[in-house]
Symmetry: C2
């Protein structure tokens, strides 16, 4: 049993979105396939993944370092003890050889995307959905049928008014979502408060509205927003400051008793440890949002979870970044708080299986072997071409 | 006046070195040229830089994002107020457009290397050595003729004994160096103590010997080394733990009253701010070693220096990573503590101008316009081919 090929293609997101910090017009993502010599239903098993959204494609690092290291390794050295499947932990260690300590993001996205594609292959070889494989390995085998799923949106667009925002939220509620996250920080504070109040009139409960500042605030603005937003007691306030400015985050937390959320722009276990050590966060209410494929993948995420549990954090405080099927499998498999959804945004790279249903704020977990990209027509078309070498 | 082309080539270091953390056998570096339409001595002025050592080449990011952003910008928008030279601060801002907060290393090396090459061109257009341009802008115009320069070495090699280490150090002292840094952590503590004692017998003073653990120690080993090495009161103990493990570094500092050094594996001002806020370091003795071309370049380094000075750190505590002419110009220009040297290591990418002299632990600053790569034969051969598009 061995990996016979790993291929990558950089695909543009073709998104016209902007948030308070930047726009997505040049954004790309790396789609990866890990092809094995294991045959299922007459075809070699191939695993798939992509590097989520917000970080650019990273195929050069893959082709120059990580793919050759895996393909040069003795195939048996990358298998589990029984020799009947690939072992992602050994494949991660293989990719990390000859890497200098620190400097995570230059490699964490490339390594994590390959690693998640390996897991897709592992689950397909085992003939199980990935969430079930992960639950067996990392969550005592607890079966989960559905997980909480909130919807993101509320971007700023030229000419988009408060009524348009309300219509957008109503549309999402009609689709089965109950909790919505909207952007803040792309307007003045009074304008944003009007948007929040209008949104609250639609969702009806402060528990059902989160806001996202996308790390755009300087100190004065972060503290001003914290004071202005605190009375609303929203589901959470996300990324009120630079993702590494733990001193400012501590000051924001002091002025903001309601839940804060952050972590999508930290890419190593050590950075997350520093966040919870120095960022003033509160394990009883705050939310952590690491992006798993962008942060070395699932094996390393399990280490991050163990580190967090050792510091008093609960798994239901974790809502990983990335509204996609990889995150869904991870949330279900590890028993995390929930996942996000961006239907119709980021081209084929957001959303779930075509037959996925959202009901009363929950999404069901798929039964397909692996991550289940095969049930996501538009995206799987891209992946299948890559696996066929086309 | 405008930039007409920016080119990159990835060059293997072909180094067989290893330290306590990793080996350099696959290591590459990006050599960059920024070509302008300004003519000096009958040729277009071209600036040069490379991304130091220890981080892999990053030409893909340059070609996909940073070079197109610069070349697409209105040329006048990248000039200084007088319109008579390029303005690196504006070029840095241009490269940073459409970049998400955080995730620094994926971009900081590519951006910083281009930015330092821009500075080489800026100094050549001004007809001055870069260290003088930097002194005028960032150090009150203080002229500096020479700076302290220590030499690194003492790597582990199969069959290399204590006597070979002493011979290596004697050779460096004969070349004019007075202070030497050797590796620790690639052997047992008793073996390393024997190496240190042997080295001290040659350099004669504990002030003249530093040791480097290359971030390889876990908690138990870091604390054991701290206790074992403290009595020697060496010049410094470098990277006793993971570069981002500020809690462990704090504990090491508690057990190690002599100077500690770290920072070469931090790539943003915010990470350095976190280091000095949470890492237990002491501004009166400890050493900071950021690598400028790997950390967004010189404009961002000036912001890091300002942040540090605001927290009570002095410039002579800074010894930037990278034993090369870029670092030499930056140390002289900003009035920093000193620079490192790795003569004969890392192929053509270590060392200074061919006519550079080390005397009594100091190296003279060059008079050539720009960084002065033109005086470094082996390296400039690579750079000239790149500038000519060959």
């Amino acid at each position: 049993m061995k990996i016979t090929a790993i291929r990558e293609a950089a695909i543009p997101l073709k998104s016209t979105l902007r948030n308070a910090a930047f726009d997505f017009s040049e954004m790309t993502t790396s789609v990866v396939t890990v092809v094995t010599d294991v045959v299922r239903e007459g075809r070699p098993v191939a695993g798939f993944a992509f590097n989520s959204t917000g970080r650019y494609a990273c195929g050069a690092q893959m082709r120059e370092r990580f793919i050759p290291r895996i393909l040069k390794a003795e195939p048996d050295s990358l298998l589990n003890a029984a020799g009947d499947n690939l072992e992602p932990e050994k494949i991660l260690a293989c990719m990390m050889s000859r890497e200098k300590p620190g400097g995570h993001t230059e490699r964490s996205v490339a390594i994590g995307t390959i690693e998640v594609a390996v897991w897709d292959a592992v689950a397909k070889i085992a003939g199980k959905p990935l969430h079930r494989v992960l639950a067996e390995r990392y969550n005592g085998g607890k079966p989960v049928a559905k997980v909480p799923c909130y919807v993101g949106g509320g971007w700023y667009e030229p000419g988009k008014g408060v009524k348009d925002l309300q219509d957008e939220i109503r549309e999402k509620l009609d689709q089965g979502y109950t909790t919505m996250k909207i952007k803040v920080g792309g307007a003045s504070i009074p304008q944003d408060l009007r948007r929040i109040e209008a949104a609250l009139r639609v969702v009806k409960s402060s528990e059902r509205l989160a806001v996202d500042a996308n790390a755009a605030f300087d100190r004065a603005r972060a503290l001003a927003y914290a004071k202005a937003l605190a009375p609303y007691e929203l589901r959470w306030l996300e990324e009120p400051c630079d993702p590494l400015d733990f001193a400012l985050l501590t000051d924001v937390a002091r002025d903001y008793p309601a839940p804060l959320a952050t972590g999508e722009n930290l890419f190593s276990t050590q950075d997350v440890q520093n966040l919870v050590s120095y960022g003033g966060l509160r394990a009883d209410r705050d939310i952590l949002q690491m992006d798993v494929p962008q942060s070395y993948g699932i094996v390393q995420f399990a280490r991050t979870v163990a580190m967090l549990e050792g510091r008093g954090w609960k798994r239901n405080s974790i809502f990983p970044h990335g509204g996609n099927q990889m995150t869904l499998a991870i949330v279900g498999g590890f028993g995390l708080g929930g996942c996000e959804a961006y239907p119709g945004v980021f081209g084929p790279f957001a959303g779930f299986a075509d037959d996925a249903k959202i009901e009363d704020g929950f999404i069901g977990l798929p039964d397909r072997p692996g991550i289940g990209f095969e049930g996501q027509g538009g995206l799987f078309e891209i992946m299948r071409c890559l696996a066929d070498g086309a």
